[in-house]
């Protein structure tokens, strides 16, 4: 297949406009309109009841926690919370909902008009949120007979309704303009930041690999500077942060190539392929009116009063952006350093290490340097290492007071990682104490000189650089515990060379 043009090249001729629709499964214990559990990975159709199976005579009742979680999401995204709204029936004829409709919200979403700021390359982009609404998730279909588990070529489908009825929040952005060549990165940064907000609120486990956070990416191109919106494609199945970036980049290249050749972009749903990074056409989108939305007659309206909303607002945790700003101040870090720490997953760890008494620069060096390497080598996140920020702070303190050299400090850290013991236990057990006592080192220095008489002669003759071999021998003999500076001074004075 042809190579897709880079986002930077496309952005010379076209202004990309992105839009993101994110679906989040809430982490409630029970479903949206019935008491069935929401456990992931349960045996098919073991978490179903008359309500979520749409059996005649059953009636839905809304889950209070799901409503509160949705309001919290709206508040965290600076939305207005509707004082009165209704659920709506979205009618369609796929078997993934046994009722033949999905309970959703249509023209009266619970939350509207918010925003989320994201920072890419030191620039802040404000992503405006059009709406946040609550609906129920659909069942899962397994297509039998097709090669890839998709509908094409399938003989029949097998449906599991465990997921049908799990509360699902949809967060829709307005078109995001002005991102240019950074469109792929801004898209990814938005979903990343949104995930952090949702995780901080504790409303969802936001696990993209399990489908509890799913993303649709809209993209259109307009000729640079024209201000005329182009026709958009809607890419589904974008199920990792990296895929958000890749899908936008691919669509920019695909649409640019089409427009360059005088072609036209068709408004359609496309399917993203994780393995190849390519999008292919999916089903042609039915018009919104085809869903024949109407107010759900089985549910009464929702009317969150101001007292309820304010109580939820008062209970909101510190949001990620505010937390980063606070940490930036306490860590004396630049935006770039903060970004490095956030990307490496060590921001909290550094902050806690500083809180435990370590200077910010030392804490940052340990977590971004040696500890990040150890985590990487072990294939775990830094936070999963068997060393606590307090222990790292203790190591830093022992280096600062001269008890440990840098090399010994690493040995102490290795010991903590291997044994889970405290820093002081490891230091004591392994005898990791820097030796700077001249008397104690004298014998080792004399032994090294005796062992390498020719080197000693060179040093006596004025070749001071040769002393390194003798210092190295002493360090080796003392298993790295000697103070190299003291050893060097001793060697030079014994051999009468200038120090």
């Amino acid at each position: 297949m042809t190579t897709i043009e880079s986002a930077a090249d496309v952005a010379h001729r076209y202004d990309p406009v992105i839009g993101l629709e994110t679906h989040v499964e809430l982490g409630t214990a029970s479903k949206m309109f019935c008491g069935c559990p929401t456990t992931f990975g349960a045996e098919p159709n073991t978490q179903v009841c008359p309500v979520c199976l749409g059996l005649p005579g059953s009636l839905p009742v809304a889950n209070a926690t799901a409503i509160e979680s949705t309001i919290k999401i709206g508040l965290a995204l600076h939305c207005d919370i509707a004082s009165w709204c209704r659920f709506a029936r979205k009618n369609y004829f796929y078997p993934d909902m046994p009722k033949d409709f999905q309970i959703s919200q249509y023209d009266e979403p619970l939350c509207t008009d918010g925003h989320l700021d994201v920072v890419v390359d030191g620039r802040t982009f404000r992503v405006e949120i059009e709406r946040v609404h609550l609906e129920e998730d659909t069942g899962k279909s397994l297509h039998v007979g097709g090669a890839t588990g998709r509908i094409h070529g399938a003989d029949h489908s097998l449906v599991d309704y465990n997921r049908a009825g799990i509360p699902l929040v949809e967060i829709v952005t307005r078109p995001v303009l002005g991102t240019g060549a950074l469109a792929p990165e801004v898209g990814k940064a938005y979903v990343t930041e949104l995930r952090e907000v949702l995780r901080g609120l504790g409303v969802s486990d936001v696990r993209m690999e399990q489908g509890s956070l799913r993303c649709d990416v809209n993209l259109s191109l307009s000729p640079a500077g024209s201000g005329v919106l182009g026709t958009r494609s809607e890419t589904k199945n974008v199920n990792s942060l990296r895929s958000v970036e890749r899908a936008i980049r691919f669509e920019m290249g695909r649409q640019a190539e089409l427009l360059d050749a005088g072609g036209r972009v068709v408004q359609e749903t496309r399917h993203f392929h994780e393995d190849t990074g390519v999008t292919t056409p999916g089903r042609s989108k039915e018009e919104a009116t085809d869903y024949r939305y109407f107010p759900e007659p089985d549910l009464v309206p929702l009317a969150p009063d101001a007292a309820w909303v304010e109580r939820l607002r008062a209970g909101l945790p510190e949001l990620p952006a505010a937390r980063r700003a606070r940490l930036a101040a306490s860590l004396e870090a630049s935006e770039f350093e903060l970004g490095s720490m956030a990307n490496a997953g060590v921001l909290e760890l550094v902050a806690e290490t500083v809180a435990a008494g370590a200077p910010a620069a030392e804490a940052r060096n340990w977590w971004l340097g040696y500890l990040a390497q150890q985590a990487n080598a072990a294939g775990v996140e830094p936070a999963e290492l068997a060393i606590t920020p307090a222990q790292v702070a203790r190591v830093v303190a022992l280096v600062a007071d001269g008890t440990l050299s840098t090399g010994l400090a690493r040995q102490a850290v290795d010991g903590v990682l291997e044994t889970g013991s405290s820093v002081d236990e490891v230091v004591a057990a392994r005898g990791l104490v820097r030796v700077s006592d001249v008397d104690a080192l004298g014998a080792a220095v004399d032994a090294a000189i005796a062992a390498q008489p020719d080197v000693a002669e060179k040093v006596r003759g004025g070749k001071v650089a040769a002393a390194g071999a003798l210092v190295g021998a002493v360090m080796k003999a003392t298993r790295g515990q000697a103070d190299a500076k003291v050893v060097r001074e001793l060697v030079l004075s014994r051999l009468g060379a200038p120090g």
Partner: protein
């Protein structure tokens, strides 16, 4: 023709039939277009009663915020559930494939 309706077209009936996955013949399109037109006409008369002082409602009862606590309740037995299905396989409902649609 009975009393005039609101004018549902033959094309609109064909569109609805396609969305509903119903096979409707050319003759039936004419029949249904006529019948639906009458039904819509009858329903449209309700709008004549609507006035500015009568707010639209979807409910006969003036209630809001009818909620349940987030508590798990027992589910149905799977064998019992699938026994009611026209077809089942591997603990799942078996349904005909959906033509020309993507998952």
């Amino acid at each position: 023709m009975p009393e005039a309706g609101v004018g549902i077209t033959r094309d609109e009936v064909a569109h609805l039939a396609r969305l509903s996955r119903l096979a409707v013949t050319e003759e039936e399109l004419d029949v249904f277009a006529g019948q639906l037109d009458v039904i819509l006409g009858a329903v449209a008369r309700v709008q004549e009663v609507a006035a500015a002082d009568i707010p639209p409602t979807t409910h006969a009862v003036p209630l809001t915020n009818v909620l349940r606590p987030d508590v798990v309740t027992p589910c149905l037995d799977r064998d019992e559930v699938l026994a009611a299905a026209p077809a089942a396989e591997d603990g799942r409902f078996r349904v005909p494939r959906i033509l020309d649609e993507e998952a």
